[in-house]
Every structure is written in C-alpha cells, then in structure tokens.
C-alpha cells in the first residue's frame, strides 16, 4: 500500500511539474517547474533502487542543465513580455498528436508481455558499473568524452561575441 501511495505522489509531482513547464506563460517559471519535474524523476530513480542514477540526475540535470537553461533565459529575457501568448497556432494539433501518441504507447505497454524477473539488485552496483564501463563499454565511453569535447568547443564557438573578423577557417 505504501509504495503505491509514494509512487502516486511522485508521479503527481513529476507530471504536474511537466505540465506546468509546457503551459506556463512565463518562461522563467517554466524553468523552475522543470527543476521540480527533475526532482520528481530523481525520486522515481530512488524508487527503482538506482540511487546512483538519482544522484547523477540531480547533479547533471538540476545542477548543470537547469542552471544553464536559466542562464540562457536571463540572457534572452528582453523580448518575451508578460502578455505574449505562449502557444503557437498549431497547438491544438500538437495536443491531439501528443494525446494520440500517449494512447498508442499506453495500449502497447498494457498489451505486451514483459519478461519480468524477480531478481535483486547486485550488492555493489557502482563497482560493477565502473568495471563494465571501462571494459565492455569502453568504446562508447571514449566516444562520449569526444562528444563532450566537441560540444564544449562547438558551444563556445557558436555562442561567442564576434568582435573581431569572423572570417575563419575553423
């Protein structure tokens, strides 16, 4: 009984936050609700007995991505006045499409036979994960770091002020 209540509460917070994100007129308030949704998702991870992923979620999503988003909002704040309509002219179709998608996915979930097993979580998940990351998955690991380097260089190049000649061969 208790886990069900906990799950219900967490889903409420997460989905409520997510709905607030996509419907709020003030984009900064949207960002705050996004943080709430992230917190909810972190709680879901804890419920799923993956505390490491929960901590990573808090660190990366809330600690880095949400803050980056708020920075970007602050930097582009001037033009979004408070009475601007935040829905574009296709919102009805978008809502219908999303609802339809949710229906299809939900139907799929309920009618599929998931091969659930009743196993327990390994005793030292982080050690195991570390070993696998550096042996079986070492190539994706390295590629991920190259990706991050590319993103780092790319975002700096794209986002910098061009006060010198922008004729460059890079």
């Amino acid at each position: 009984m208790v886990p069900v209540l906990v799950f219900a509460a967490i889903s409420l917070v997460t989905l409520g936050g997510a709905i607030a994100v996509v419907t709020n007129k003030n984009v900064l308030h949207s960002a705050y609700f996004l943080v709430l949704a992230f917190v909810g998702v972190a709680s879901v991870y804890v419920l799923l007995e993956a505390p490491f992923i929960a901590v990573i979620q808090v660190l990366i999503y809330i600690g880095a991505i949400a803050i980056l988003i708020i920075f970007a909002i602050m930097l582009t704040r001037r033009l979004m006045s408070k009475d601007m309509e935040e829905r574009n002219q296709q919102w009805i179709w978008a809502a219908l499409g999303a609802l339809l998608l949710f229906g299809v996915l939900g139907w799929l979930v309920y009618n599929a036979n998931w091969p659930v097993i009743e196993a327990a979580v390994p005793k030292e998940p982080i050690t195991l994960m570390g070993e696998e990351l550096l042996s079986t998955y070492v190539v994706p690991f390295e590629i991920a770091s190259v990706l991050l380097l590319a993103a780092l260089v790319g975002s700096i190049l794209i986002g910098r002020e061009k006060d010198q000649e922008s004729r460059s061969a890079e």
Binding site: Q90, G97, A169
Partner: protein, 728 residues
C-alpha cells in the same frame, strides 16, 4: 547535569543556522523579527555553550580523555565519514569565548545598523541573517569532531566573509584606486582560497595516510602520529617526514585565514565591511580560526619536534608568526584610519599567537587567543561607536577631544587599549602576552643567541613595544586634546545597545587574565588555566626579568606614545610628529612606505595578475596567430590549389566533348524544332502551368519555414504508420 550538556552539544551551531534560514527565506521584511531571531538563537547557543564549557571544566582529566560522539554521515568506497562533536579543553576554552563575543557583537549591531533611527540600513535583516550563518560556521568549527566538518565550517566562514565584507556592494568610490566593498569581498575570498588550497592538500595527504579524518584516529592517536613522523614524505618535500609535510600544508591554510605574511593583504581591505563585521570576523573569531587550527594540529607538531631533530617545521611557523607580528606593527604606526590601525594590530597579534605555537607555547598561545578576542572585539566595537558618534569619520587626523563627548566609549576603549598593550597586572593582555614572551625567553636562553629562538624573541619584544606605542597614538589622536573637525566637535555618545556590549567586554578584558597567572605568584596548583588546558605541557617558569621587561615595554611604549601625541595634542591640519621626525632624518620615504603598507598590493598585482594576463596573451597568440590558424589556413589553401587543377582539367577535356556534342545536336534539334514548337511546347507549357499552380497553392503554403510545423507533420505521419502497422 553534565551528561545533559554533553549530549546536546551538537545543537549549538544549529540554532544560528535555523535563524539564518528563517531570516533569509521568510522574515526579510520585518527588521525587529529578524534581529530578534538572530540574537535569540545566539542567546540559546551561548547558554548551551557555557553549559558545556562549565561541565567540561568540572570534568577531571578532560585533556587525556576527550569526550566525543559522532554518527555516520556518508560512505564512499570503504570509508565512512562521520559528523559529530569533540569536547576537550581547547574546544571548551574556545566555546567560552565564541558565543559570548558573538552575542555581544549581535546586540551591538542593532545599534550600529541604525535600528529605530532614520538612517537604518535598508538591508538590515539580510545582515542579521548573514552573521547568524557566520556564527554557525565558527561554532561548527569549534565543536567539530573531524577534519572534514572542520573544513566545511571553514569554507562557510570564508563564504560569509565574502558576503559580509561586500555587504554594501552598491557602494562605489570616485577614486579608481580605492578598493570598493565588492572588490574587497572578492579579494578576501580569493586570497584565503589560496591558503585553503594548501589546507585541502594537507587534509588529503593526511587522509591518504590514515584512511580517516576523525581526530580520535589521527591527531590524538599516538601510534599513528609516530608512524607519520617516520614515514618519509612525497619526494617534492625533500627529506622531511610525512608529519612535517602535512603540518606545513595545514599551516598554509592558517596563513591564509589568519592573514599572516604573505597572505595578509586581504585583511586591511576587509575594513570596507560594516564595523560589527570587522569585530566579528577579523578580530574575535574567523581569523582566530587559523590559530585554532594550528592549535588543533599541535600534537602533530609536537611529534615532529620530539622525533626529528633539526626539522624546520616549527621554525618556519615561528618565524612567519614573529615576522608578521613586527611587520604589521610597523605598518600600524603610520595608519590614519581608525580601523586600519586595528586591522594591522590584529595581524600583528595573530602573528604573536602563531609564533607562540611555533615555539611550542601551546598554553600561552591559547590564552592569548582568548584574551585577544575579547579586547580586540572591544576595540573594534569602540571604533565603530566613534564612527557612528562622529557621523562616519574614520580618519583619526580629523578626530580628537572625544573623551568628554563619548565617555563610555572612551573608558572602554582605554581598557581595551591597555589590554592590547599589555599594561601590567590589571589587564588580561598582560598575562597572556607575558606568558608568550616568557616562553620565548626560555627558548632563547636554552639555545643561545645564534639560533632562531633568539630572533623570534627579539622580534616579539620589539613588536610589543611598538604595539604599546601605536595604541597610545590611537587613543591620544582620537580621544585626547581638542576636536580637529566639525564632526568631532558635534560628536555624541552612542545608544545603549552599542555601549552595553562595550562595558561587558571591557570587564572581561580586565579580569580574564587572572585565571592564568603563573603559579609562582598565586601559589602552586592555582594557575587554573594552565592546569585545565595544558597539564601535560610543562609550565613556563616565571622569570622576573621577563615580567619586568614586559611591564617596561608596555608602560614605556604607552608613555612614549602619550608624550609624542597626547601631551601636546595635535592641532587640525598638523602633520603627524612621527612623519615629521622621519622626514627630518631622511626616512620620509620609509614613512610613506609604511603608510602604503609596504606596497604589497602593488607588488602582487604586478607579478601575479599582470603575469597571468601576459601568459594568457601568449597562449592566445599561439592559437590564433602563430601556429594553429596558419596550419588550418594552409590546409585550406592547398585544397583550393588542388581543386583549381581539377577545374582546369575539367574545362579543357570536357569542354572539347561538349562542343562537339553541341554542334551535332544543333543539326538534330533543328529538325525537331518545328514539331517541338507546335506540339511539345503546348504539352510542356501545360504541365509547367499545372506544376506551378500546384507548387504555389499546394506545396508553398506547407513550407512555412517553421520547424515546429515540420515536427508536427512528422509526428502525425509516424502515428499513421504505427496505426497501419498495428492494424495489420
């Protein structure tokens, strides 16, 4: 009863932390509620704190069997870090001083920040929130049970010093060379951060050797300390032991936080903050945290001395302390800002304490730490009282004659000043400073004139004389004689919320010394302070020459200062007699250097800051002009060259073919041309018209250029495909 207090020790930093949270989140609009919360939390911490202190005093053999309790906090890998508290004599003594002085300063701040007047500071509540957070940090540091929580509290205090020094961050000055509060806050934070770097390295090194950071298992575990002293340190430390390397690294943190040379540059500029901040952070508590830290690792230092001979660790510490003491007191002679003199005086007195620890005088250093906290806070608050009473006049050359106009401030300031100078017998500063000098004398006698204890003793003695001299200068310029400006003329005494704490602290500045009077005077076993704090260290034998010397220095310095500045008080606009005197013997440049604090800020800016900018410029040029860009551009040029070749090739051969084809086609097309015109043209035009119509009226509107439209179409198509797949 004692058990009760020992069980609730953990709650001491919690009260002010809750006050901070509530004030910052909820009560910033209500000034009275904010200061009541702050002061109330401090009263609770003080009551519980003194409960713990007196229970600790009543516990026999506390030094050999400290009381500690902790709970596991988090695990990483195989270690568990705890959070808890540790009660031993050092902590009890510090806990006697910290909450009480903090409480006095909080009460004082009510008056200083102008509560109830027209000039009340608009950010009044935020101030009380921040000083509550600061108290959390200091109290956390004092009761901490392991180096990790100590470091956390250390960093909290670093943050608060930034927030509080830069409290009036909107203030700007017309003169670009004068440091604004915002810059001073950053400077304090960054300079102490340099010291913190060394502290972190020391803690990490210790952790790598011990696998834990709790005091019980490291600093107070004799076998571990011996093991450290016998382990050679990492190769970059030369032939020293791990123990001395760790001690020196951790001492680096104290150099930053306690503003010792060469990291002293932040403290004078920290005077840009409100005076209660100066009293709290830079006199009584935060800078003393550095001394507290060195006292905490004293067992480590002791092991180095015991087991290694000719190890320079203690020497380095003692020398830095003694050099700072004298260097700062020389600068203090030439400062005209009333808070500037006190800032350098603080640096100098902290040098005393560090030097005392460096020569092994643990009890004396602790004693001086406590007495100094009281009288330095008193002096800062007194100077704040003067500032408020004279409508924000800080230049002593514009003051004078305040003795009659602000009597309570005068008498308490005098008590603090006498304590600072070490006026014999009746002030606390005398007993604590005398103990340091006695210990230095004993070491000097032991090792002879050609050793560093001699230099330490010499520097400390000269500094004591200079301390008395500049104190008398300050008191004479500020309070004696006739007012030298209008503000001083119209000065008035400050409200009771400010003078009441002054009186309370003055009481302690006078009487606190009596708990540590050496045994020879009050009878065997009656030096209560030594018995409680340092029973395992031999007490310094009383030496009559030193007592006479200390008294002589104090009275002599005060007397000389009064003769120069007080007997014939300065008129308005008259030059400082010291400056005049030095200029006469061609040392005017030296006076100027003293006034400009020996140009340290300028030197650091030239070497470090400009140096880094030049280095960054070199790297930028490497990237842009010298290496990377030329390579990339070169590759582009080569590629373009190759494609030009292909282009030429293309033109010559392909053109030939094309021209031939063209000639033959012309003949053929002439034939078809007539049919074309009539029939084909008609069909083609028709198709073109239809396509154009479709394109303009069907496809053009779809290409709105808006990405979201494209995405929506994508979604609908995908759903359609899924639907078809599911159905079939």
């Amino acid at each position: 009863m004692k058990e009760f207090f020992f069980n609730i020790t953990w709650i001491i930093p919690v009260f002010p932390f809750l006050a901070f949270l509530i004030i910052i989140l909820f009560t910033q609009g209500n000034k009275k509620l904010s200061h009541s919360l702050s002061i109330g939390s401090m009263v609770l911490s003080w009551l519980v704190g003194w409960g713990v202190v007196f229970s600790a005093i009543a516990t026999p053999h506390l030094g050999e069997h400290p009381i500690h309790k902790s709970v596991p906090w988090f695990e990483t890998g195989t270690t568990t870090f705890n959070i808890g508290y540790w009660i031993d004599p050092l902590m009890a003594i510090a806990l006697f001083m910290v909450p009480f002085v903090c409480l006095m300063i909080f009460i004082y701040s009510v008056g200083y920040m102008g509560y109830g007047t027209d000039e009340v500071d608009p950010n009044y509540s935020r101030f009380f929130g921040y000083i509550a957070l600061f108290a959390t940090g200091m109290l956390g540091l004092v009761i901490s049970e392991n180096l990790l929580t100590l470091f956390m509290s250390w960093e909290i205090m670093g943050l608060c010093s930034y927030l509080l020094i830069g409290f009036w961050f909107e203030k700007n000055y017309a003169d670009p060379n004068q440091i604004t509060p915002r810059q001073a806050g950053l400077k304090a934070f960054l300079v102490t951060k340099i010291g913190d770097l060394f502290l972190v390295l020391g803690i990490l090194y210790l952790y790598s050797q011990a696998g834990t950071l709790s005091y019980a298992d490291t600093l107070f575990n004799h076998e571990f300390l011996v093991h450290l002293a016998e382990t050679p340190a990492l190769p970059i430390f030369g032939g020293w032991s791990a123990a001395s390397a760790i001690a020196l690294l951790i001492f680096g943190g104290a150099v930053g936080k306690s503003a010792q040379f060469p990291l002293h540059v932040w403290l004078p500029d920290a005077m840009e903050g409100p005076t209660p901040v100066s009293a709290l952070i830079h006199a009584a508590t935060m800078v003393s945290a550095g001394v507290f830290l060195v006292a905490r690792i004293f067992p480590l230092l002791n092991i180095v001395v015991e087991l290694e001979h000719n190890n320079p660790t203690m020497g380095v510490i003692a020398f830095i302390g003694a050099f700072t003491a004298i260097f700062a007191s020389i600068i203090a002679l030439a400062q005209n800002d009333i808070k500037g003199v006190l800032a350098f005086s603080t640096i100098s007195q902290l040098g005393y304490m560090i030097a005392a620890l460096g020569i092994g005088a643990y009890v004396a250093a602790t004693f001086h730490l406590i007495t100094h906290a009281f009288f330095k806070a008193l002096l800062f608050m007194g100077s704040g009282s003067v500032i408020i009473g004279t409508h924000h006049t800080q230049d002593m050359m514009q003051l004078g004659g305040l003795r009659k106009k602000m009597p309570k401030t005068f008498w308490t300031f005098l008590a603090g000043g006498l304590a600072l100078s070490g006026f014999p017998l009746i002030t606390a500063g005398f007993w604590s400073k005398d103990e340091i000098l006695a210990h230095a004398w004993e070491e000097f006698m032991h090792y002879g004139t050609a050793s560093w204890p001699f230099f330490v003793w010499l520097l400390l003695t000269i500094a004591a004389f200079l301390t008395a001299f500049y104190t008398a200068r300050q008191i004479s310029l500020t309070f004696l004689g006739k007012p030298r400006s209008d503000h001083a003329d119209h000065a008035h005494e400050t409200p009771n919320t400010m003078t009441f704490p002054l009186i309370m602290l003055a009481f302690f500045a006078i009487t606190l010394g009596w708990v540590g009077i050496p045994e020879e005077i009050v009878g065997q076993g009656n030096n209560w302070f030594h018995a409680f704090v340092g029973h395992e260290y031999a007490s310094t034998p009383l030496s009559i020459p030193v007592i006479l010397l200390s008294s002589g220095l104090a009275v002599g310095g005060l007397g000389l200062g009064w003769l120069v500045y007080g007997r014939k008080p300065l008129e308005a606009g008259q030059m400082d007699p010291l400056q005049k005197g030095m200029e006469k013997i061609r040392l005017g440049w030296l006076y100027k250097a003293m006034q400009k604090r020996f140009y340290f800020d300028e030197i650091y800016e030239a070497i470090f800051i400009n140096g880094f900018i030049k280095l960054a410029d070199i790297f930028y040029n490497f990237d842009y002009n010298w290496v990377i860009n030329p390579i990339v551009n070169g590759v582009g040029a080569v590629t373009r060259g190759i494609s030009n070749i292909f282009n030429k090739f293309d033109e010559k051969i392909v053109d030939g073919l094309v021209n031939f084809t063209g000639l033959s086609s012309v003949k053929l097309s002439d034939l078809g041309g007539i049919t074309d015109l009539k029939v084909v043209d008609g069909i083609v035009n028709g198709i073109a018209d239809v396509t154009g119509w479709i394109g303009e009226n069907v496809f053009r509107p779809i290409q709105t250029g808006k990405v979201q439209n494209y995405l929506l179409i994508l979604l609908i198509s995908m759903l359609a495909i899924i639907g078809i797949y599911l159905v079939y």
